[in-house]
Symmetry: C2
């Protein structure tokens, strides 16, 4: 969703953070904190729920993962391939995600904002749908 900068404050390497990071690396879909937590449980690597939330929050703040709010209002996280600003085409049912870039949209949003005198502009854009796989099995 957004490119990030320098900060990356001092952080210690812990078993828990490594575990969360590992799951994120292996997962291609957007997943919620709770889902990530239960994946960890099911694989034996016990990590407190609060820690999962804190870790994801930190990663998101550093721009190392993308966040989006699902229809139900929960936050979903994903470690994206590209580092530059981009958007997502997400399956409502299974979370399957396609990263998409739209230079034209970027230009349009900033020109519209400028046109109305707005500054310090940002935007959110996500496309939701049902992926081919989920559509097949009704």
């Amino acid at each position: 969703m957004s490119a990030r900068e320098q900060p990356v404050k001092e952080q210690r390497r812990t078993r828990q953070r490594a575990a969360v990071d590992e799951v994120l690396d292996e997962t291609d879909d957007f997943i919620s904190a709770q889902e990530l937590h239960s994946i960890l449980r099911s694989r034996g690597a016990s990590v407190g729920l609060a820690t999962v939330y804190r870790t994801l929050q930190a990663l998101a703040d550093d721009g190392r993962v993308d966040v989006l709010r699902t229809g139900g209002g929960e936050a979903a996280y994903r470690k994206c391939a590209r580092d530059e600003h981009h958007h997502h085409l997400v399956c409502r049912s299974c979370g399957a995600t396609v990263e998409i870039a739209g230079p034209a949209v970027e230009r349009w949003t900033s020109s519209v904002a400028k046109e109305h005198g707005y500054v310090d502009v940002a935007h959110t854009l996500e496309i939701f749908g049902t992926c081919p796989k989920c559509a097949g099995q009704s």
Copy 2:
């Protein structure tokens, strides 16, 4: 955010629904259910919080108000001027809203989705910034 169709099921006219509708008519910014509720309280027209939520929900379902999730994850509602599908340019600081339409974006999102085989597609797009008025007085 979206145009709506026929249903508009049988509903009774009640003091509470009229009160909510009135506040929406007078308010030009996006407001949350809780804010709307406290406005009603402060003006003496007592309406239960659950009723406010239900009423807004119904209005949103019928497409008579637009909804957007704020950064904090709460839903904000607004009765927009135009009835067709459109998006918003919202001031982060004061909530001032400009309705915007972008046919090109609409085409782009659906073509991208189709291209990847996704069906039953929808999208969210909001632009946030600081309006001229708020930018002037730092």
